[in-house]
């Protein structure tokens, strides 16, 4: 395995668009859960999964920063018991701006965390309220200042576009403010309304005035242009970075490489199998009492599926899918496997070949899903 994802499913406030596995922090067995993370790591090691050579650890959620300083410290201590943190290429955590106190920043720093991914989402006060965020528009700048003072340089923020009633102008202002922070990395996601969210319910009642496909496309286009102009290269559909500051952990996903998923509801890819852990906390914790991993379901990835995934994940990257590495990975050339599909897609101007790789064109980026589908049998 190259990476490790650890899921912290607690939140003090639930965002209106979020459908990840999460629960309100209050009255939850948080301490017990943190210990269970340790159990899972122990069981995993006992089953012969080695953490040696691990390149990245990523704390995600929920919100890892919902934990208290003491809890964060304990979590990091557990990670250190299993993983040689000093040998990692990247140790990231997700963070909520208003939870990222100087105290927590110091705990993270001394625990070896080197990269922050902060959920800013927008710099518009009204929109932040509307999507259920608790921080205000000026919080991020202050927090980033604190983080830099404490020694964090590798900082990224997440932004969301296509929010209810969001205008192109509002989005542009958000991009201005984001770029003014001069961060090495930015992520820009489009709002997807998922079932079991506040937004989904509003949408069904006809009370979610989304900007629509054309405006969203304009926002996406603006995001790409502004980022590129500011020297942040679009290395993946939603991710932009100064050269050398790309998220190594996220690239593991797009490179179709293996990673461990630790924690309730986490997904992983180990020894040729994709798996998902139990989502409900009790179920997750109790399932390990017998010494078994808390896996709810697990599927072997067939060669065909692995090739499909290589394509629909790999094409998300600006460097695309290398003809050579495809061949060495699957013993079969890309054109042999997908020749007809590729010819059709390049005929439509959606993909092109350059520098020995197949890549999405700019048009192809906008219609990524259509391209990706073509590789599914």
């Amino acid at each position: 395995m190259r990476g490790m994802y650890i899921h912290i499913p607690f939140c003090h406030q639930i965002c209106h668009y979020c459908d990840f596995n999460k629960v309100f922090f209050k009255n939850q067995p948080v301490d017990e859960y943190i210990e269970s993370i340790g159990n899972e790591l122990t069981i995993m090691a006992n089953e012969g999964h080695s953490f040696e050579g691990l390149e990245t650890v990523f704390l995600g959620g929920g919100t890892p920063t919902s934990l208290s300083e003491g809890q964060l410290d304990r979590l990091l201590e557990i990670i250190h018991q299993h993983v040689d943190v000093s040998a990692l290429r990247e140790f990231s955590t997700e963070a909520n701006p208003d939870e990222l106190t100087r105290g927590k920043l110091s705990v993270l720093k001394s625990g070896g965390v080197g990269r922050l991914s902060i959920g800013v989402q927008s710099f518009d006060e009204q929109l932040l309220k509307r999507i259920g965020r608790t921080h205000s528009a000026d919080t991020p700048a202050r927090v980033i200042q604190d983080a830099r003072e404490i020694g964090f340089e590798n900082i990224s923020i997440d932004l969301i576009y296509g929010l209810p009633e969001q205008t192109v102008q509002q989005w542009e202002e958000t991009l201005d403010k984001a770029l003014a922070l001069d961060l090495p990395h930015y992520s820009g996601y489009s709002l997807i309304v998922e079932p079991k969210t506040v937004f989904y319910n509003l949408m069904n009642k006809g009370k979610l005035p989304l900007p629509g496909e054309d405006i969203e496309a304009e926002m996406f286009s603006m995001l790409m242009d502004r980022m590129t102009k500011a020297g942040r290269r679009q290395y993946e559909i939603s991710n932009f970075a100064l050269p050398g500051n790309e998220s190594i952990h996220n690239l593991i996903y797009w490179d179709n490489d293996e990673y461990a998923g630790i924690g309730a509801g986490a997904h992983g890819y180990l020894k040729g199998r994709r798996y998902a852990n139990f989502g409900p906390l009790r179920k997750y914790m109790e399932s390990m009492d017998t010494g078994a991993r808390p896996v709810m379901e697990s599927n072997e990835v067939t060669i065909t599926e692995a090739m499909e995934e290589e394509m629909f994940l790999g094409l998300r990257k600006s460097e695309g899918v290398s003809l050579q590495s495809f061949k060495s990975k699957f013993g079969k050339s890309l054109t042999e496997e997908y020749g007809i599909v590729l010819a059709e897609l390049s005929g439509k101007g959606l993909v092109s070949e350059s520098e020995g790789s197949i890549k999405l064109t700019r048009k192809g980026i906008f219609r990524g899903n259509e391209v990706f589908q073509q590789f599914l049998k």
Partner: protein, 607 residues
Amino acid sequence: MNHDERLARQKNIRNFSIIAHIDHGKSTLADRLLEKTETVSSREMKSQTLDSMDLERERGITIKLNAVQLSYTAKNGEVYTFHLIDTPGHVDFTYEVSRSLAACEGALLVVDAAQGIEAQTLANVYLALDNDLEILPIINKIDLPAADPDKVKKEIEDVIGLDASEAVHASAKAGIGIEEILEQIVEKVPAPTGDPQAPLKALIFDSHYDQYKGVIVNIRIVEGTVKPGDKIRMMATGKEFEVIETGVFTPNISMRDELSVGDVGFLSAAIKNVGDTRVGDTITNAKNPASEPLPGYRRLNPMVFCGLYPIDSSKYVDLREALEKLELNDSALEYEAETSQALGFGYRCGFLGLLHMEIIQERIEREFKIDLITTAPSVIYNVVTTDGKELKVDNPSMMPDAQKIDHVEEPYVKASIMVPNEYVGSVMELCQQKRGNFITMDYLDASRVNIIYELPLAEIVYDFFDQLKSGTKGYASFDYELIGYKTSKLVKMDILLNGEQVDALSFIVHRDFSYERGKAIVEKLRKLIPRQQFEVPVQAAIGQKIVARSTIKSIGKNVLAKCYGGDISRKRKLLEKQKEGKKRMKQVGSVEVPQEAFMAVLKMDED
């Protein structure tokens, strides 16, 4: 059984059917009669026993006929054999209704105590009167708070001219009045006349296909007897068969050694095709044939046509097999292969009416699991060309060029619409809009009106029913009969997607409405067809002339720009779902068109 025994039995036979509007309680009443005569114990009683097809039970209508034998011990101590012959309750099946009524001596006229007589009921009562049936009025749902039996009785007397003084007050649901109905059947419905020693005359009123026995023919013996081993002849088709089994439905199949005058049952004779056993035909004995068939037989002609195409073109053969199987059971269904430039290989199918069409489509999709694209329904147009030739056109795309047409005739119907008088205005407005000619209007009572219009059949096969229903809050009832052809100013409207004409979207429209329709349909298509790779113009044209235009925009953005963490299987599922959605669309030229678009002309007045 000897002659005297047969005559004695015949004296105690009573054959009847039930005439009722949908929802007025026909099936429930049939269930109660079966229960009361202990034909079916209430324990094994499925609600609506007679409606056996799932589709029938779901829609609450009877599509295929059933006949059940009941045994009833009357108050006079004698045991009677009843045959209850079920009839389909829909205008598409009027001929079947008339044949099943011809198998009876009596009919129960069930009228809802709160709602009164409806157009469909009236049409069937007239059919029953044409067949000289004894009609027993029954006021049903008498236990409803809104029940007004006296008003309904008066309506029966005023509108139909029947004596309703002895009408039974019943509630089939609550089991009220059931015994009284059974007694009236004994007293009032005449026993069958006819001579068991005469040459066989048996009326076919239904048939269905059984995969082991071949066609099972439902018959009423009018003269003579029939038993296994007899050689029989179908008088209309001339086909001959040897009888293998005779029996009755109780409602399960029960074999009988013979069927004699008055019996209503079935026979099987290794018949391979339902088409050989046409409803209304007479079966006779091949060795001792009757000189004349029973009156009233006619060949059924489809009135409504549409193209059926498999979405997945590789299912073409499966579709043919499905149609073949359905045809075994449905002699009114017609089909022939046709090719559409847009849709590929499919079948042009003829139906008795819209409901018949919907039922067949639904059965193909459900029972044979073939996803279909259905083109908008069409009627048969008579086209007279400038060189004097006459063509029958049942597919709008086959209409000749306008300059080669002298004139076009289209089928008209006489429509009778019964409605509470506050809706007269909206009904007339609708009929006017549908190119109707007002004929007359009668008051049924102080609050209800029967409005008669002549309407082009083509307007009815579009969205007439739906609009009538919504315009009258569901209070209108409606019936129609074909009255012949009339010359109309009709033109063919073509639809072009991305500059290419799509034959399957062509339709015929009256010249005066063509601009309006053209505009409505391009708008409708713009909404129905999802955004494409590139901008797609949608045009409506008459001949070379574009009368309306709209544009389907190109896709703005379709890419998952969301953080899914490491949940790759979720991404995969999303992509698979999108791909699956595409499969349900038909590639027409370079445009992906969803199923609904081909029916767009039907639902043009929505939104």
